[in-house]
């Protein structure tokens, strides 16, 4: 437990000190929201979600890339792989949740009264839940930040442009938050909420497992070494 939260704490400390990342986390969703604001309120809220998703994913990507060289050493220092990836994920989730608060307040204040605020909160929760392991997975698999950022950009663009009712849409990672946002704004039937919730849960779980797999393999105990206790 202690090791898990130490990693989470250090992840947060590192991110908070990176002014660029913080600016990104705050400005990007805001920009996304404002751009669509004069249009239909649903657009602006969905845009906001995408902005939060992209920002948190990028922060996760950078955090994972920065720690890559350190992780083998931490392994030797006594951390198990699950401390390292779960700890980082917890830190990123915490950051994402804290980040959501001002944007939720923004929606509370700015959006018309018919919007289901609970739904907006749920959608944002979904974004953060998926974004953290998603960014970590990309950061773990692609060697450099640049390639990872480009991939994220592609995913976000696809997410933005794809028709949510189309067949391929369910394969995009942030589809869930879009569905829940639709439930919140368009006051549709509860089917949207249910579908979105399940999708979000499933994608989060799947991404967490993938991250666990990649990290465990990369930080595995190699078979050519035998460790014996000192006598």
């Amino acid at each position: 437990m202690g090791r898990l939260f130490t990693i989470a704490e250090m992840t947060l400390r590192e991110l908070v000190r990176r002014r660029g990342v913080l600016a990104l986390l705050l400005l990007m969703p805001l920009a996304f929201y404002l751009i669509r604001r004069d249009g239909y309120v649903g657009q602006s809220i969905r845009s906001l979600m995408l902005g939060v998703a992209w920002a948190v994913s990028t922060a996760a990507l950078f955090a994972t890339g920065a720690a890559r060289e350190l992780e083998p050493r931490l392994r030797l220092a006594g951390y198990r792989p699950h401390h390292l990836y779960l700890g980082r994920m917890i830190g990123l989730w915490a950051l994402g949740l804290v980040l959501s608060v001002p944007f939720l307040l923004l929606v509370l204040v700015d959006a018309p009264d018919f919007v289901r605020y609970g739904g907006v909160a749920a959608a944002m929760l979904c974004c953060v839940a998926v974004a953290a392991p998603f960014g970590m997975l990309i950061g773990a698999v692609l060697p450099r930040d640049l390639e990872g950022t480009l991939l994220l950009l592609t995913v976000v663009a696809v997410q933005m442009l794809i028709d949510p009712a189309g067949t391929g849409a369910k394969f995009t990672p942030f589809w869930a938050s879009r569905e829940i946002a639709t439930w919140a704004v368009d006051r549709t039937g509860d089917g949207y909420l249910l579908r979105g919730g399940l999708h979000g849960l499933a994608v989060t779980l799947m991404l967490v497992l993938l991250v666990a797999g990649v990290f465990t393999i990369r930080l595995r105990r190699r078979r050519h070494i035998r460790y014996l206790p000192a006598h």
């Binding site: 090791r3 130490t6 000190r17 060289e69 350190l70 050493r73 030797l76 014996l228």
Partner: protein, 279 residues
């Protein structure tokens, strides 16, 4: 600087040059007496402390080999690597290299650039899988990479707590251990500096301290002295000998051969040289 400061600096410089403490005290005392009698300024009489200390050290000749004393029997085997081979594509980097290091020994891995020294060490540390060969480690292991073992955006103290927590060490203990580990190397950075703002040599001190602070049984060091000034480099080797005397097994990758006569095992990875080291 005044007389007392000059004498202090002089004493320190003598220590750095390996003059044994007894002789150094005599030399410093004689200089102090001379200054008292002549009443002149030390820089006028002797020059700067460093230059004079060099002259004295030269006059004294090389330090005598350490007396045989209570024969230091090497302890149990701590690292046993056999038949390590590694190929990258068509390039054979390591061909059946062996290394055995016992507790209380220092092993140096030498060879030209690019001959696989770092790769061998990383294989021993368990970071890379070799194509063939086995490694046996008895006790705890510490590894210090040549570069990049520190987190840009964390403070030195945070590094200490981070690495300490891996072993379940309390925060306060980790801070104490880490700070003393880094002080041995001559740490002089303010405590609120991010790692990325430290000078190269200072950052390397932190890097090295993160390995030594947990006092592992086996230390694998990959040329960790990049950016060290001469004084720090000497402190570093002093610390290695202290670690050896304390019963640890130390493996250092180095391309600087000047300390080889005070090292127990040498593994030369230059191709076509013998690739067996230690027994």
């Amino acid at each position: 600087m005044n007389g007392a400061q000059w004498l202090d600096a002089f004493a320190a410089e003598l220590g750095r040059r390996g003059v044994d403490p007894e002789t150094a005290r005599h030399v410093v005392a004689e200089a102090a007496t001379h200054l008292r009698e002549s009443g002149e300024h030390p820089t006028q009489v002797f020059g700067n402390p460093s230059g004079y200390a060099s002259a004295v050290a030269d006059s004294l000749g090389p330090p005598p080999p350490p007396p045989p004393g209570p024969a230091r029997r090497p302890g149990p085997v701590r690292l046993h690597a056999t038949g390590i081979s590694k190929r990258y594509g068509r390039r054979t980097v390591l061909h059946s290299a062996d290394l055995t290091v016992r507790a209380g020994q220092i092993a140096a891995i030498v060879g030209a650039n690019g001959c696989g020294k770092s790769t061998f060490l990383r294989i021993c540390a368990g970071l890379i899988t070799p194509d063939s060969g086995q490694v046996q480690v008895v006790g705890s292991l510490g590894y210090c990479p040549q570069q990049g073992g520190t987190a840009d955006f964390l403070l030195a103290d945070e590094h200490f707590t981070l690495f300490g927590a891996g072993q379940g060490i309390s925060r306060r203990q980790a801070l104490t251990d880490g700070r003393s580990a880094v002080r041995v190397l001559g740490w002089d950075a303010p405590s609120d500096t991010l790692a990325r703002h430290l000078s190269g040599g200072t950052r390397q001190k932190l890097n090295l301290a993160l390995t030594t602070m947990t006092q592992p049984d086996v230390l694998l060091l990959d040329e960790p002295y990049q950016g060290f000034d001469r004084g720090t480099y000497i402190n570093f080797w002093d610390q290695l000998w202290q670690l050896r005397d304390a019963g640890r097994a130390v493996v250092v990758v180095t391309h600087l051969l000047t300390q080889l006569d005070r090292v127990d095992v040498v593994l030369d990875l230059t191709p076509a040289a013998t690739t067996r080291g230690g027994r």
